[in-house]
Amino acid sequence: MSGEIYLDYAATAPVDPAVSAAMAECLALDFGNPSSTHGAGRRARQLVETARERIGARVGASPDRLIFTSGATESNNLALQGVLRRSRAKRVHFVTSRIEHKSVLDVARALEGAGVAVTYVAATSGGWIEPARVLEAITADTQLVSIMHVNNETGVIQDVEGVGAACRARGVLFHVDAAQSAGKVPLALDSSPIDLCSLTAHKLCGPKGVGALYVAPRVTLVPQLHGGEQERGLRAGTLATHQIVGMGKAYELADPQREAPRLAALRDRLWDALRAIDGARQNGDPHRRAAHILNVTFPGIDGESLRFALRDLAVSAGSACAADSPEASHVLMGLGLSDVLAGSSLRFSVGRFTADDEIGRAAAQVAAAVARLRAVAKSAPAWCSA
């Protein structure tokens, strides 16, 4: 990785060597199609089912409730479209928040185009979705609510238990995008009021291109892919055995109880160093935040210049999925930040392989870049910092 310090685990994480070893072994030895009934197929099927069990054990789900997909984006699509496009009701209503990931918001917009009414609940300035606001948005036509567990930009942990309980009391299905939380925050899906939950592997030191959707027993979905009966007919296509094996290994290795305290300590040390920079402020309620994410605004700095000045430090302006967009983060603007301040913000995210000494070096690089860019814009008007 050259001299780059990698603090972008919320975008993706390095593959754990144990994961890549398991995948390599699978690729080399177990090439069978898991749907085949001969020996090679049965061996591959066994690997898939072992992975399913490992993932289920990590998220507190019966293995048979997990449908393998290509990742959380596909899982979100399958959950939202699978519920809302199946409805024959005249009026269909969907509730989500303004600070969801694009893979939920863009689906919501597509569904609006298909006639689904959508309510986008606002977040508080701390990035918190109040369960009461979600409950208020539910109408007699509401069929689904979708709220992410851990926000991918601020790290704020939403009260999915509270929202889910409210949904269940109203007979409304509840979907959770857990791409940032699975394996990092404890989950017990079978005993929770969550009906659908999107999971991914690559945020958890697993491979890209594989994920899963938890589907509770009472939920029926219409499939979004056709062409096979794999995954109980909900997701057609030959199962990517080696990817699934990698995901299973990643979920087996992940242990929030063990890893979260260390990650929280790294994050807190980083903030302790960054807070010395004049005007630096955290985004998202620090009392409701996952261990691995820190989002900081540095007023008075153009965001693009800051990111370029820090090109040897792997951090994000916001969601990596929107990194090519010149627009400021919709999440930070949803918390009330101006587009200028949202642009002047960086997301730092730590993970399994973040070394202690990288924290201090990263903070020093940020402090130097901020000082240099502020010197170039020393007399800039107030709007550049507001």
């Binding site: 693009e304 210049s305 170039v376 814009a377 800039a380 550049c384």
Partner: protein, 120 residues
């Protein structure tokens, strides 16, 4: 976003990113901004005997903006005012291989320098 080697060089070590001291003889200041584009530029020029004796800039903006302002400050210093007034931001953009969508920001550099001439 891709940046040309010239942009990288100028952004990493901008030339004349400074403020000229108050009381500098012949000092003129010009500013331009576009809040929607997140760009603000200030140029300071010391004009003496029909020549730009010194040039300085301040900038809030993207790497292309900082780099282009640096190139312009370098270009202005030591140049006859009559010649300096022919500044062409588009030529600077071409020199730095600035993408066309950034032109709106970089034209503010031309505006800031033009404001200096008006203040002279």
């Amino acid at each position: 976003m891709e940046y040309s080697p010239a942009v990288v060089r100028q952004f990493d070590a901008p030339s004349r990113a400074r403020e000229l001291p108050r009381g500098t003889p012949g000092l003129v200041t010009g500013e331009a901004e576009d809040r929607t584009l997140h760009v603000w530029i200030r140029f300071q020029l010391q004009l003496q005997g029909g020549v730009v004796r010194a040039a300085a800039f301040q900038a809030f903006g993207c790497p292309h903006t900082v780099a282009a302002a640096s190139v312009v400050a370098e270009w202005l210093e030591g140049r006859a005012v009559a010649d300096a007034q022919r500044l062409d931001a588009r030529a600077v953009c071409a020199q730095l291989a600035v993408p066309v969508e950034k032109l709106g920001k970089l034209l503010r550099i031309e505006d800031a320098v033009a404001a200096c001439w008006r203040a002279a």
